[in-house]
């Protein structure tokens, strides 16, 4: 499965989003379920799925899906056309 799909599946599962609600341009403030516990869950899921540990600052500082992609791409994980 390509990384884009993996990230989409992970966030939809953690944040309980529907297909229609998800977008790669989604901002944290647009998602009611993106609370402080979701941050912990997203960090755990990223670690499990992509093998990257967010630093505490990175995890807390996420403002949307794009930030996750940017951090992972910086680590060499590719997200074609995301």
């Amino acid at each position: 499965m390509e990384n884009r799909q993996k990230l989409r599946d992970l966030l939809m599962e953690v944040l309980l989003l529907t297909d229609e609600e998800f977008s790669f341009d989604l901002k944290r403030e647009q998602v009611e379920t993106w609370d402080s516990l979701a941050v912990v869950a997203i960090a755990a899921g990223i670690d499990e799925t992509f093998g990257y540990h967010f630093t505490p600052d990175e995890a807390v500082g996420l403002t949307g899906v794009r930030d996750i992609i940017n951090i992972l791409e910086r680590e060499g994980i590719r997200f074609a056309e995301a």
């Binding site: 599962e13 309980l16 379920t33 609370d35 516990l37 912990v40 869950a41």
Partner: protein, 402 residues
């Protein structure tokens, strides 16, 4: 003070003996010596029973009866009740239900179960009505035949049996049942429409009580509330109150007089407020509402989590079975795991999770949603909480990931 000694006349009967010889119960009831009715399939040795019953003081060796209750851990507790009090309760229940118009009762629960023993066997014996004994859902053909032959019948069930009615009997209906009572677990509020189709002439009641109450404390007609947790009003003479942390306590002139547990007999004084083991509060119109078992309400990240409230929400979209067990998460916070049976389809799981999202913030969501083909149950039909946590045929459907 009397000294403990087991009466030589005391009789212990297993459920199986009663099943084949209902007259035996009538005989034991009419005679003076105290007797005990215990489940057939509970692994209790005769030695254990004799040792436990030998703890009964002489004052209780006549005019009483003993039933067994097992909590969710399965630890047995012998409940000692007075025959005269139970007969009085039967009269009160009969009167509280419009002088119960039923002319017979069909038993589909074990008679060693206090709810069935008092509500059905004793009611039929004391009020001189017919009792039709069945093996319940272990012999669906026999049960269907009994329900088909019903004439103005009263039936007592537990909520977990309702899905079985549909799966075993399809769209068949039983017009001869005019009274349908539920107790011993969560009231099947979401299945009322189904129940009205299956039993088109039945008035449905939610009963609440516990073995120590022997067994009933409150009653409501199903039509009086939309909430499964609404247990209705106390029976005449019964008092309810809330204690510390919403604990629900009762006093009742019909309650048990003592119990044997952990190798000791403990009498229950008449003026004692007894814990039901549930949490609850008074609500409107003199009715009471349950918040859950003591173990089912807890704090997580400062929020009060009520497993019954979560269950009610999930069962709006999930027709299968549902149970919980408690677990601590990796941050040391109390949490819970939800177990579904049977395994849900993808869309069903999605609907459940969306219902959780709609009604609750994340601390209320389960740490995991697991599924299994069938929930493990104790002989009294309650979910076996210990077995629930140690199954190896479980599928993790969703997880909080921490």
């Amino acid at each position: 003070m009397s000294t403990p000694s087991m009466s030589e006349n005391m009789r212990v009967v297993r459920e199986a003996e009663v099943r084949h010889d209902l007259a035996l119960l009538g005989h034991l009831w009419s005679e003076a010596p105290t007797f005990a009715v215990v489940p057939t399939n509970l692994a209790l040795t005769e030695d254990w029973l004799r040792a436990s019953l030998s703890l009964l003081p002489d004052d209780y060796c006549n005019g009483h009866f003993i039933l067994m209750t097992s909590g969710s851990t399965g630890q047995p507790k012998l409940i000692v009740a007075k025959k005269a009090r139970a007969e009085r309760l039967v009269e009160v229940i009969h009167s509280a239900q419009d002088d119960e118009p039923a002319s017979e009762t069909i038993a589909c629960l074990p008679l060693s179960y206090s709810y069935a023993f008092v509500n059905q066997w004793l009611w039929s014996h004391h009020m001189r009505r017919k009792l039709v004994r069945t093996d319940g859902f272990t012999r669906p053909d026999e049960l269907k035949s009994a329900l088909d032959s019903a004439e103005n019948a009263m039936v007592c069930m537990v909520g977990v049996q309702v899905p079985l009615l549909r799966s075993l009997f399809g769209t068949h209906s039983f017009p001869g049942v005019i009274r349908l009572h539920f107790a011993g677990g969560r009231f099947p509020q979401e299945q009322l429409a189904d129940l009205r189709e299956i039993f088109p002439n039945a008035e449905v009641f939610n009963n609440y009580g516990c073995a120590e109450a022997m067994p009933r404390l409150t009653i409501r007609r199903a039509s009086e509330s939309d909430l499964a947790a609404n247990i209705g009003r106390p029976l005449p003479g019964v008092e309810l109150k809330t204690g510390d942390d919403d604990q629900l306590l009762f006093r009742s002139p019909f309650r048990a007089v003592g119990f044997i547990e952990a190798n000791a007999f403990r009498p229950i004084p008449d003026d004692e407020w007894i814990e039901t083991g549930d949490l609850g509060h008074a609500s409107e119109n003199s009715m009471w509402t349950l918040l859950g078992r003591k173990s089912e309400v807890f704090k997580r990240f400062g929020e009060k989590i009520s497993l019954p409230a979560i269950q009610s929400a999930v069962q709006r979209v999930w027709q299968g079975e549902l149970a919980f067990y408690r677990e601590t998460d990796s941050m040391g916070e109390n949490g819970h795991v939800m177990v579904l049976a049977p395994h849900p389809e993808k869309d069903q799981l999605k609907a459940i999770m969306m219902e959780l999202r709609r009604g609750f913030s994340r601390p209320h969501w389960p740490l995991r949603v697991e599924s299994t083909q069938q929930l493990p149950r104790l002989p009294n039909n309650k979910v076996d909480a210990l077995a629930l946590t140690s199954r190896n045929d479980v599928t993790v459907q969703w997880s909080q990931r921490y």
